[in-house]
Symmetry: C3
């Protein structure tokens, strides 16, 4: 097992940006195209992209971008992993709040993706999604950061 | 959906540090203030912060810093996701060891957070926590790394 | 609680590479040594390493490298967290496909590890593993990226 070097070079620049996403309650919003367009627009050709979600009840994940049934099953999986009716102590913000926190911990709020020739190194079937875990629509803020040359 | 660029600039410096955390057994230790003070002290104003936990039975996560009941419910959620009595083969280190490994995989050991104007890009309600998953107190070692200018 | 600075310095270079891993169906393949050799070979002594898995049914995780029973129990834990027989809608690719997607979301596809004096900052018991979640063998592609000086 041996790693083949793809590129080597200098590092000179960084850029950061903000992405606001209006969600429609529980479910996934794909952000791949918006992030790809921004990466390309920075002019940074090689480097490291980070996406960060500034919330405790919405998360970031990478999943299949082909069959929408995958996302439907994923929602049900989150329901099983962190059910609404588990007798939570923290319930003042509604029965969807504590499950939303747990689902956020399980799926995470930061992603790191290498960039080569102005493109994220995603596989063919990988899409980047903001996962809203609350019942109601929310405005969610993401930060993107790109470092490279 | 469009990303608004917040800042662009050069990249010149990096710094790394070590944070030792004495835990008191299962539960969460907030490290937000310690990390924020170090970030500010490096003099690096824009960049990318990484926090890494050097253990397989303690993890790093971002969660609500307001109501402590959230952390209490989160502990119970970990108990459900990775119960103590699941008939593990690996049990020589005690009944809390294998659940601790599983909980660490679920919640993760690395976090990446963009830094803008000497501050981490955390949302209002986000705190950074070291999660101890073993029953007994442990000394846990974290590495922080900041790259930027 | 106070962070002790370990190193400070410039940042001048980056490198990226590709690692292909042939898996033998469900289970873990350790990649620690391959990554360590590549990091050392780049000549970058201090910086940040990122590993990214370009798939939606295989993931990256850090776990105990000592007792193989830990990985055996971890496989069983994944079985409980995302069982095969949960009545998934997305089932055309086989009963192992949707559980593989869920297990990938739970364990994640990117890892960030600080590098000091040409070595990853892993703890004594930490190994880096590619987790194959499909039943059949697959060729999996990883990207590694190192930024530093």
């Amino acid at each position: 097992m041996r790693i083949e070097t793809l590129s080597e070079g200098g590092i000179t620049r960084q850029a950061s940006g903000r992405l606001g996403v209006d969600t429609r309650g529980q479910g996934f919003t794909e952000i791949t195209d918006a992030v790809a367009a921004w990466v390309s627009g920075t002019g940074i050709r090689h480097g490291l992209l980070t996406i960060f979600c500034r919330h405790t009840s919405a998360s970031l994940l990478i999943q299949e971008n082909a069959d929408p049934d995958v996302r439907r099953d994923l929602l049900r999986a989150f329901d099983r992993l962190a059910p609404r009716d588990a007798g939570y102590v923290h319930s003042t913000e509604g029965p969807d709040d504590m499950p939303a926190h747990i689902r956020t911990v399980i799926s995470g709020v930061s992603l790191s993706i290498p960039v080569t020739e102005s493109r994220m190194g995603l596989g063919t079937w990988q899409g980047i999604y903001l996962a809203e875990h609350r019942d109601r629509p929310h405005r969610r803020d993401l930060i993107v950061h790109l470092i490279g040359a």
